[in-house]
Each structure stands twice: as structure tokens, then as C-alpha cells.
Subunit: 448 residues, 2 copies
């Protein structure tokens, strides 16, 4: 009987535990989570803070009790793993006042990521908030509800989503981003400009290319200081990025990769025998470039968890092939999706690229209810191979455009392959020349 211990009850950890149980009914599976919930969805936090989702508990798929009962997995919540012993094969768990040791034959580390907190003077002041775990929702909500003016530091996914939520809550929102565009890790400047335009139109005071250097206040923050000015604020949401939470992995002796996340192979094995890592704590392989990257997202975490959990009980039964960087966000009714490499990323990696940025509609021109959509397609100049796509548009459907492109990218599609793809049509769901097909045609520079 194999004993599997999984550290972390989020997407990767819960998937790993469930998969191990499914593949080996006799295994003893223990899931250890620091917070109060498992199978939780941090991606839903903005909408729980904003009240669209009633309670942070709604962000769980299973309660710890259900998971224990239905899956026959031992679930320890509010339990912190404070040490890992690879020699003796156990973890030390702090739970309430007590400490216990739990033995494992296979260990899955799914400790996730944590917010990056830059070393800026005043960052320790009250009212300088970060967000990561649904457990924090009541506290964040309490802080933000009484604020009139909120500074968002960082124009990434969380910054964009929280700007919407805070405008909906009636706040004045100042967003500071040190790069001169929003979503710098996701989008090229031309596409990001479309998002920035909508953010400004909705009332966000956008400060792009403006680095925050200090927070001021006595006990509680009341001022954001940048290289360019000083701004009075009531609360600060720090959303400058996340980093992998590798502390426990390091204690096992597992090697970290060049990205700073835990190095794993396609079986989600770390460099330490019988120790797996999955989810945001682990490094990934980019399927387009073969390079090692760190793109911490929930769907990847789920699948990696599944692979790690499966392999923990049946050695090397599953392989994780990597990612192509598909990601989605939204600002009010503007949906933003991307996959593959941006043109800038591609250039940094040495690709010679061509791109096209087209404007189209999400339905036939004569049908009511269609939204405008912008598609940017990036291809390698010499081969026509598609390297990436970025889509911004006024309909949920544009998120799927990135999915279509993701599958195309994974498969090594050229612009011509995309053009000739059998993408469907009816007037209420797409134009007869689908925006992706139009983008391919334009990008072909007269060849199609």
C-alpha cells in the first residue's frame, strides 16, 4: 500500500490527490492545506470581492468534508507543512497547537505561488494589500469597501480585473504600471493600447510607464509616491506579479530551474526520487519553443496535478506535454485572450516575425448583437509558422479564438493551415469569413 502525501489543496494538489486515489484504490492519500479550503479558485477572487460571487466558499468545487467522504482522501486543512525529510520520508505538519509527522512513499509538492512583494519603502504599511487565496476575501473586501480611492500597482491580469471590480464598487481607481502598457507580459503594445483605451473610457486613471517608489502613511498607507508624482489614496492593491512558493521543495533538495520554479520532467518528477511537483510551483516547457518557462495558470495546474498524482501511484503512466501560454482576462465586457508568443517575446527569442492586426466583428455584419473584435496574429517570416495570437473583443466568444489558435500552435500550423481550417459559421455565431481566417489572409501578404 503506497502512501501519497500531497502538499497544497489548490488546483494541482487536489487533482493530484484525486488522480492518485482513482488509479490506486488501495493507496493512502493525504492532502495537506494551509488554508481553510481546498479545490479553491483564486481566479474567482475579484468577483467574490466585488460581490458578483456571494461568498468565497462558492469558489470551492468541493468542501474538505465532501472530498474526504466522496474520494476517500484524508484532508488536513489549516495544516502547515513545516518540514520535509526525504531520508526518513515524512513531513512535519503543524496543526493548531500540535505537531505531527506523516510518512510518505510518494510526495507531491503543489505549494503554488505567492504574491511578489517588492522592496519599496512603506510596503509594510497597513492598507497595502496583496491577494492570493480565497481565504483572504472577507479581509480584502472589508479593506476595500470603506476606501474611496484605491491605487492598483501593476497592470497585469489581477490589476485589470480588480480595476473593473473596484469601479463597480464605486471607487476611484488609479492604476500604476512601470511598463508603458497594460498587460505587458501578455500583449504587444498595439493590442494593449486597445485595452488601455477601454480602461480610460470606463474611468480608470491610468499611469503607465510610472514606477512606484514609495508608500507613505503613519500606520496605514495614505500616499503612493512614484518617480513622477504623489497621489493620495485610501488603499493600495499590490499586484505586481507572483513567484513560485518553492521553500518546501528546496528543503527536499529538488533542483530549481532557470525560471526559479521547481525543475520537473514531463512526468512531473523533480530531481529527487519519489518527489513530484505540479502546478504554479513547477516549471513548464513551452511547446512552441521547447524552452523552460514559468506560466502559472489554473488549467495547467489541474493537468499537471493529474499527471503527478497518476505517476505517484503508477510510475510514468502519464506525460505532461507543456503549454503554449494561453491566457484570458476581461475588463467589463472587453474580453482579452492570448496564446503562444507575443511579437515582442518572439523577437526576444530571435524569431524574425510578421504580424497582422485586424478588426472584425463576432457575428455576420447584418446580425444584431455582434461585438467588435481585434485579432493580432504573429508568424515566423521564413516559414509562415504561427507563433502567437492576441484577441481583444466585446464578447465572451473571443476567448475561444485563443483556444482555436492554441490548438493550431501546438500542431505547428502555418498561416495557410489556419486559413484553410474548417472553422464553422452561422450568422449569429461568426462572420462567414471568421476573424481568425481574415487575420490569416491579411498576414499572408497576398499569398492567400
Amino acid at each position: 500500500m503506497v502512501r501519497v502525501v500531497v502538499i497544497g489543496g489548490g488546483a494541482a494538489g487536489a487533482s493530484a490527490a484525486a488522480r492518485a486515489r482513482r488509479l490506486d484504490p488501495s493507496a493512502e492519500v493525504t492532502l495537506i492545506e494551509r488554508g481553510s479550503m481546498i479545490t479553491h479558485a483564486p481566479c474567482g477572487m475579484p468577483y467574490a470581492i466585488g460581490g458578483l460571487v456571494k461568498s468565497q466558499d462558492d469558489l470551492m468545487t468541493y468542501s474538505p468534508e465532501e472530498f474526504e467522504k466522496e474520494r476517500n482522501i484524508k484532508v488536513l486543512i489549516r495544516s502547515e507543512v513545516v518540514d520535509v525529510d526525504v531520508e526518513k520520508r515524512n513531513v512535519t505538519v503543524k496543526r493548531g497547537g500540535s505537531i505531527e509527522k506523516i510518512a510518505w512513499d510518494k510526495l507531491v509538492i503543489a505549494t503554488g505561488a505567492k504574491p511578489l512583494v517588492p522592496k519599496i519603502p512603506g510596503v509594510e504599511l497597513k492598507g497595502v494589500l496583496t491577494m492570493r487565496h480565497p481565504d483572504e476575501v472577507p479581509s480584502l473586501k472589508g479593506h476595500l469597501e470603506k476606501a474611496k480611492t484605491v491605487a492598483v500597482v501593476g497592470g497585469g491580469y489581477i490589476g485589470v480585473e480588480m480595476s473593473e471590480v473596484m469601479l463597480e464598487m464605486g471607487k476611484k481607481v488609479l492604476l500604476f504600471e512601470m511598463f508603458d502598457q497594460v498587460l505587458p507580459a501578455a500583449l504587444d503594445p498595439d493590442v494593449a493600447a486597445l485595452v488601455a483605451e477601454e480602461m480610460k473610457a470606463r474611468g480608470v486613471e491610468l499611469h503607465l510607464g510610472e514606477k512606484v517608489v514609495e508608500f507613505r502613511g503613519d500606520d496605514h498607507v495614505n500616499k503612493v509616491v512614484t518617480e513622477k508624482g504623489e497621489y493620495s489614496v485610501d488603499e493600495v492593491l499590490l499586484a505586481v506579479g507572483v513567484r513560485p512558493d518553492v521553500d518546501l521543495a528546496v528543503r527536499t533538495g529538488a533542483k530549481l530551474g532557470e525560471t526559479g520554479a521547481v525543475y520537473v520532467n514531463e512526468y512531473m518528477e523533480t530531481t529527487v526520487p519519489d518527489v513530484y511537483a505540479a502546478g504554479d510551483v513547477a516549471e513548464k516547457v513551452h511547446r512552441l519553443t521547447g524552452r523552460r518557462v514559468w506560466i502559472p495558470l489554473a488549467p495547467t495546474a489541474n493537468k499537471e496535478g493529474q499527471v503527478a498524482g497518476g505517476n505517484a501511484v503508477r510510475s510514468r503512466v502519464l506525460k505532461f506535454p507543456g503549454v503554449v501560454g494561453t491566457a484570458v482576462t476581461k475588463f467589463f465586457n472587453l474580453y482579452i485572450a492570448r496564446t503562444g508568443l507575443s511579437e515582442r517575446e518572439a523577437a526576444q527569442l530571435g524569431f524574425k516575425t510578421q504580424s497582422a492586426l485586424i478588426k472584425a466583428r463576432t457575428k455576420a455584419h447584418y446580425m444584431p448583437g455582434g461585438g467588435v473584435v481585434h485579432v493580432k496574429l504573429v508568424a515566423e517570416e521564413s516559414t509562415g509558422r504561427i507563433l502567437g495570437g492576441q484577441i481583444v473583443g466585446g464578447s465572451q466568444v473571443v476567448a475561444s479564438y485563443a483556444d482555436i489558435l492554441a490548438v493550431a500552435l501546438q500542431s505547428g500550423y502555418t498561416v495557410s493551415d489556419l486559413f484553410f481550417s474548417d472553422i464553422g459559421y452561422m450568422p449569429d455565431t461568426a462572420p462567414v469569413w471568421h476573424p481568425l481566417i481574415v487575420a490569416a489572409r491579411v498576414l499572408s501578404r497576398g499569398k492567400l
Copy 2:
């Protein structure tokens, strides 16, 4: 200077003419259309009849005048090609009262399809209507507006879409389908049952497995007679299918394929030198099976037109790789999409299949506004290769699920390849386990 004549101003013909012009600025390009409009969209007809689209003119992308002026293409509307002479390389065109001959070096036949009219007694009565060309919209509208009860004969795409439109117009709708399910060419019975359920809930009187054998009336139809009963009606919409309009192609001596449509190779060349065919008149190759099929749809017509027009002026510059049968329709807010082979089709072709039919949501469980979606995934048992997918759900987005699958199918994906695809997520656009990924997991029967 090459003279290109294109017969038919619909999707394929207009694309062919535009492409020939684009690739050869010196070519003399003539587009000949029987009706009054070109670049028209028959797929929008239901919504023009129902009034959601104001006028049939809105269904055109370009007016004949714009096309002439902007593209420098000679456009002849209300002009019927009554003969083709391959020896002398000309077409005989009837235009108003006059007849003229137009010479060609390259001929593109894009005559499309026409409604199938079964040989049923009474089918020639007034009030037994078919629909194909936007020109017919005012007449169809006139007929249907004064009717109280309308019989729709045929439960295919047009039958389903027109049922919605006529319910919206306040009619009583009886739908007769000789097969025992709606959308028999598109869906398996289990998925079609979901559509039928919604149709009944909205008030369509569904007569499945009930063959119409006669229409009765003095001058105007007033009764539909089936094997099972007689029904009083005011108008009949005959929508039992279409067939390729091959008359002119046959006159050129072009070979017809086994499907009855014009045989073409990947260059859209017919078996007659310098004669091309594109769009609904032409046979296609199914990319999954390599078999020749006839699946007449607008996006295919557009692309085939582009290939035919390009090759007409620059020999064999473009290749059309074929189709996988992606198609979309809707009934009110229920969107229906499919790609590849249905389970029944696959079985008929000798595949041993496995399938999964799952129910999921289009957004994270905790987000408001998500719809229920059903995904059926069909795979080959021995290899796990995905053969097809059918999706029915309460959101426009599910049409894109078929597109994602279409690209996967074209690329030879297995169930495992689909499962590990990097499909995106944010709570407002998809669940973290995307419905397609869930379907793949279920279909893997415990392997994933």
C-alpha cells in the same frame, strides 16, 4: 491578358472573381449572376424573413456597383448563362431580352445548390415554398406573414432555424421529419434529442419519424398528409435538403463525382481543362477519412472560390485541403455545433467507436450568466483518435467549441492530445476544466 468568367455571384463565385483580380491586375474578370445581388448570404435568410435583419439587401457584403468599381470586375446581374461552349470557349448569357456570348480563357463554375423538391403529389401547389436565394425574401415574407399555421417539412438546419423565426412571427409551427430525430445529417440521436426537447418546449409541434406523402389544396395548399395523419396548414416550407446545381457543369463535359456534385481536384480543377468549380456545386474531400463528400457550406465555398480564382490566373498556386464537416445552427438561445463524423456516420464507415456525452457549464460554476452545455465526443476505439464532436448549449460560445475540435481533428488529435491542449480559462469565459477537456477525460475511460 487572361479572360476569366465566373458563373454565380454567391460566396464561391465572388471570392473567385476577387481573387483572380487580386492576383492578376491585367486579367479581364466577369462575374455573371442570375439574381439581383452578389456576395449574398443565404444563411441570413431566416433572419431577414423574420425581420431581425431589416432587408434582404443587408445580406449582401458588396453591391454589384461597389464590386465593379472597387474590384474592377465586370458584374452582370439578372443574367443567366444558358449555354457553355468548351470548344469555342464562350458562354451564352441571357440578359433581359438579349442574348450575348462572352469569351473565356478560364471558366469558374460556382452555380451553387438548389432546393431538393421531392416528387410528392401536390408539391406544385401554391404555398409550398422553398428557400435558397435572398432575392426570394420579400415573396417568402409575404406568404408567411399572413399564415397562421405553417408546416415545415424537413428537420435540417433550415427547418430548425425557420421554426424559431416562425414562432417569433407568432405562427403555429408543425415540423415534419421522416427520420426519427431532428438534424439527422448533423447529429446523433442522443444529441438531437436535446434539441428536440427545446423545440417542443418553445412550442414547435414536432412530428418525427413521420413522412409527408401528399400536399392537398385546390390552388393553394391547405393540408399536409403524412403516413400517420392529415394536418390543416396555411403554408408549407419545404426544407428537405439541397442538391448541387450541376446543369451547366455537365454541359462542359465535367465529370460528376460519386456524390453527384462536380468532381474537382485539390486545385478546384474539374476534369475539363481550364474549367474550375467551387462552392456548393463542387464535391469536397473529407480530411478525416479521405473520402469524397458533399457538404455545401458558405465558409468552404469562400475558400474554394479563392483557390479556384487564384489558380485560374496563376496555375496551381493554391490548394484546398478539404473539410471536416464543421457546421453550426441555432434555435433561439440554443446553439448547436458539430464537426467531424457523428457516431452513426463513423459506424457506417466501419470505424469502431467510443463516445462520451457530458453536461457542463460555459462559465465557472460560481459565475452568473453561464449556460448549460452538452458535449459529445466520438473517438476511434483502437487508436483514441478523435473522429467528431457535437455540442449543444445555451451560449454563442459553444460554436467555437466545434472550431477548437475541428482544428484538433484536422491535426489527427487523440483524446489524450485534446486533454493536454492548452485551452484558456478565466471564470467568466469557461470553467477551469473546459467542457471539451472534461469530455476528453470521460472518453478516456479512466486513462486520463
